[in-house]
């Protein structure tokens, strides 16, 4: 195989490692397939939410519960974290190999933004509960609580993974497993953006419309 054409576009695994590029390709593709499976989960949860919109059982509805301002800020934070993650991947590709690696800085920033998102989500959910919006209250709220916190849980899991990868960088440097792991985490991170946009459109904007 021609080593140049077989190279993974997002990685600098070295030109002599055709097989490593092939494996990275399979790994990222496999993870992408996994995300497609996850997409079905979120799609169904969104569908469930829509079918449950009227199942209020006398409880509060979207207009009583949702506020757009925190959602807007959360959206900004999450989208910015995707940008910083993208910067991390770019600096990974052109990693100078110095001690103070820009990739780590970008990853750190991404982690902060991700955790900030999760924290804001948690605060919102707590406020929702205080307003009588507990998941046990109605079918509508059950659907909401299965969807939005699941997304936040995904972000939290992605953050945990990010910490684990950072620890691997600390231990092994930027070796091939770390690089492919970062690529896969990237797929997840951007995927969660897409899902969040869908949630904002359907759950918050759709619910308030």
């Amino acid at each position: 195989m021609n080593t140049e054409t077989g190279r993974h576009p997002g990685l600098n695994l070295g030109s002599g490692h055709a097989e490593a590029h092939g494996e990275a390709e399979a790994l990222v593709f496999g993870f992408w397939v996994f995300m497609m499976s996850d997409l079905v989960t979120f799609g169904l949860l969104l569908a469930t939410y829509v079918t449950m919109l009227d199942n209020l059982a006398g409880g509060p509805g979207p207009k009583d519960l949702f506020e757009l301002k925190p959602v807007f800020i959360e959206t900004l934070v999450l989208l910015t974290s995707s940008l910083t993650y993208g910067m991390a991947i770019l600096s990974l590709k052109h990693d100078p190999g110095r001690r103070l690696r820009p990739v780590l800085a970008w990853l750190g920033l991404t982690l902060m933004l991700g955790l900030a998102f999760v924290a804001m989500e948690a605060k919102d959910l707590h406020a929702l509960q205080a307003k009588g919006g507990a998941p046990q209250r109605s079918g509508f709220l059950s659907a909401f609580w299965a969807l939005v916190p699941l997304h936040a849980l995904h972000v939290a899991a992605a953050a945990l993974w990010l910490v684990a990868i950072a620890a691997q960088i600390w231990r092994f440097g930027l070796d091939t497993p770390v690089k492919t792991a970062l690529l896969r985490l990237g797929v997840l991170w951007h995927f969660l953006d897409v899902v969040w946009i869908a949630i904002v459109s359907v759950v918050f904007l759709g619910g308030l419309a």
Binding site: M36, L44, Q136, A143
Partner: protein
């Protein structure tokens, strides 16, 4: 906290009442004693089986071998074999349960011996096991073993993930087994319809067992599907284009895609049911704005593609078996591949036909009914394609072919009754009756199970290096076919008479003759299973007279037959270059088979890993803890599982290099042996002369 309080917290909801004999000891009555004895007997057999296994492993000092060579192995062939072993163990239990149910219904006029509750557990475990822990492991195992060999790969794309998938499935199976000892299991059927399975109506642990067993299996299956799909997309040997793949690989690919997209609805449905039961959510409750119809939709959004997950691999097996045992090219390869794709796509568009009677509009029902019928077209094409493969072939009626022939004839009958059920207006009078039960058993026994048993007979020599004994195999195949007919055709009649499924007892004397015939059929099926056991024992004992070291006992057509039997760890000493369909047949006919390769290279194979078994044990612990509200156990299991995965991220030394010299030596000595081994014609296939070196059927002289 007192010691008693601590113990209570540790044991959660688990107490003496969970033991299968407790009821009959504390509240003896005729019914509780009979049911208690049956349940304790079943639990006793399981415990005894486990003890005997432990004793045998210890006695023969096999623990190390079991751990190193099997449980922690990432070799797709071994993982495949372990899946199949799991399937056979679970098949034994579910068959035994079926026989008890058949016996009950045979004496069920106005009573019988089983309590309704016991009967409910039997049909629920039977269905759950047969689908999730017999059929799924069996087909996953066969795909695992065969598919990488057929596409010329050394392993699946993600060997560790493969081991994790197996472990999750096994953990689910173990949970169902645990419910024998710590009762009860759910009585809500394999589909677990709420609101019946909600806490309001089923407050005991039964549905929780079902939820977590199915969820574990569902997760394992999703991961397996991803793994297979990526393997087929990315790991094919040079020249192995999609349309050169054996048909089995096409079915494996379609099944993988179905697994990826159809399992999430199931995971979600069971998770939502769990949220309802554990945290008081209102997804599927009658109350609080819940909607049980949502569950029906989600479950069958999984459930219908699942039907094709079950059936398509068997279609692949039949394609291989019929073509190979007819000594002939598969008729209509492109049609068969396209038909497989059509079926996979259409399978997502028909789920409403599982609940035509839920009150939706006539036109919606009609649309889904017609979509269902459309699946009949590609399926019909397949059946005729297989018949045209027999046409102008030289057909050997070996064990796999007996299953295939039984399948062809019985499957079309099941298909016909499926078309009946696809008509909403006819479904209104057959839904929820034994007609439906007869129909899906008609699809799944001749369809799936015969296919898997054919695969077992067909590829066994490749896995273990010797053929299975033929006589017991034929007895098993014929008894399976006859047993199936006797056990299930009467159920069609009962269904037309309006007998509901899941009925422990009945008041209609007219049902009795049918249930009696079905009992005879069940007996025959048990006999068939006994034949399979006898066949295995005889085959192992007499393995030396059935060895096929050259590796091609059936004059095979695809790449897996071009390597030794049993296949070496690395499958192919040198990755094959593929130029046509049926590459091995082509090579044999042109005299290119068994040539020394130009050179050897080092081979990278994955090292063993304990992550799979650890995740499996942790998954079981977590699920068992959740079932019994032992929160400490559930949390420890979850953390252990998470920890194993995080730790794995730090593993760097994950591959093992097999030196080119070692590969050369093994391969060249095998090639030397091949050259020294006489080739045999097909009619000596089942004689000791068959050492796995075949004269291609097309070059065989027949007068």
């Amino acid at each position: 906290m007192t010691l008693a309080g601590l113990l209570d917290a540790a044991l959660g909801r688990l107490d003496w009442n969970a033991l299968p004999f407790w009821e009959m000891v504390t509240h003896p009555s005729a019914s509780s004693i009979i049911n208690g004895l049956i349940a304790s007997g079943a639990a006793g057999i399981m415990v005894l089986g486990a003890l005997v296994t432990i004793w045998a492993l210890t006695r023969h000092r096999l623990w190390g071998t079991l751990w190193r060579d099997w449980l922690t192995s990432l070799d797709h062939k071994k993982i495949g074999i372990m899946y199949v072993v799991l399937a056979f163990v679970m098949l034994a239990r579910a068959l035994a349960e079926a026989s008890v149910m058949r016996t009950q219904q045979a004496v069920g006029l106005g009573g019988g011996f089983l309590s309704p509750e016991h009967f409910g557990q039997l049909f629920s475990t039977h269905g759950t096991i047969m689908i999730f822990f017999m059929a799924m492991p069996f087909l996953t195992g066969v795909i695992n073993f065969v598919m990488p060999l057929q596409i010329g790969a050394r392993d699946v794309a993600f060997p560790l993930l493969n081991s994790v998938s197996l472990a999750l499935t096994a953990a689910g199976a173990a949970l169902v087994m645990a419910s024998l000892l710590f009762t009860p299991f759910s009585i809500g059927g394999w589909s677990g319809y709420p609101p019946f399975t909600e806490t309001g109506f089923s407050p005991d642990v039964g549905p929780d067992y079902w939820i977590w067993a199915v969820t574990l299996s569902s997760l394992g299956t999703t991961l397996a599907g991803m793994n297979f799909a990526v393997t087929i997309y990315k790991k094919r040997a040079p020249g192995m284009t999609m349309f050169r793949m054996p048909l089995f690989c096409w079915t494996a690919l379609c099944v993988s895609i179905l697994m990826i997209f159809a399992m999430p609805p199931l995971t979600l449905a069971t998770s939502m049911l769990a949220l309802d039961r554990y945290l008081g959510f209102h997804f599927f409750t009658n109350t609080g704005g819940g909607d049980p119809m949502l569950y029906a939709n989600m479950f069958w959004l999984f459930g219908h593609p699942e039907v094709y997950i079950l059936i398509l691999p068997a279609f692949g097996v039949y394609s291989e078996v019929i073509s190979t045992l007819s000594g002939k090219k598969l008729y209509g390869y492109t049609s068969l591949a396209l038909a497989t794709i059509c079926i996979a796509v259409l399978s997502f568009t028909v789920w409403v036909h599982h609940f035509f009677t839920m009150g939706q509009s006539a036109s919606l029902n009609a649309v889904f009914g017609i979509a269902t019928m459309l699946i009949g077209i590609p399926t019909g094409v397949k059946v005729y394609d297989w018949m045209l493969t027999l046409y102008r072939g030289r057909v050997r009626l070996g064990v796999p072919m007996i299953y295939a022939a039984g399948f062809l004839m019985l499957f079309v009958i099941g298909g016909a009754t499926g078309i009946v059920l696809a008509n909403p207006s006819l479904d209104y009078v057959t839904h929820n009756t034994l007609f439906l039960v007869a129909h899906f058993h008609n699809m799944l026994i001749p369809g799936l199970l015969f296919g898997m048993l054919a695969a077992y007979a067909f590829w066994f020599p490749k896995a273990f290096g010797f053929r299975l004994e033929e006589k017991w195999g034929r007895r098993a195949a014929v008894s399976w076919i006859a047993g199936f007919i006797l056990a299930f055709f009467p159920l069609y009649g009962l269904g037309l008479l309006g007998m509901p499924r899941r009925t422990v007892a009945f008041l209609e004397p007219a049902y009795l003759p049918f249930t009696l015939i079905a009992l005879v059929g069940a007996g025959l099926v048990l006999f068939a299973f006994g034949c399979l056991v006898a066949q295995l024992v005889v085959s192992i004992r007499e393995r030396d007279m059935r060895r096929v070291p050259v590796g091609d006992p059936w004059d095979g057509r695809s790449l897996e037959w071009s390597i030794p039997a049993p296949a070496p760890e690395w499958n192919f000493a040198v990755l094959p270059k593929v130029e046509t369909r049926d590459p091995f047949t082509e090579a044999k006919e042109q005299g290119r088979a068994y040539r020394s390769p130009e050179g050897y290279e080092d081979i990278e194979m994955p090292r063993h890993s304990a992550v799979g078994p650890i995740v499996g044990i942790a998954g079981f612990a977590c699920a068992f803890g959740l079932v019994w509200y032992m929160w400490w156990l559930a949390i420890s299991g979850a953390l252990l599982s998470l920890g194993a995965m995080l730790a794995r991220g730090f593993a760097r030394d994950t591959v093992r290099i097999i030196a080119a010299a070692e590969v050369r030596e093994a391969h060249e000595s095998w090639l030397a042996m091949v050259r020294a081994t006489p080739r045999i014609p097909r009619h000596e296939e089942n004689t000791p002369a068959n050492l796995g070196h075949a004269i291609p059927a097309s070059q065989e002289e027949q007068s």
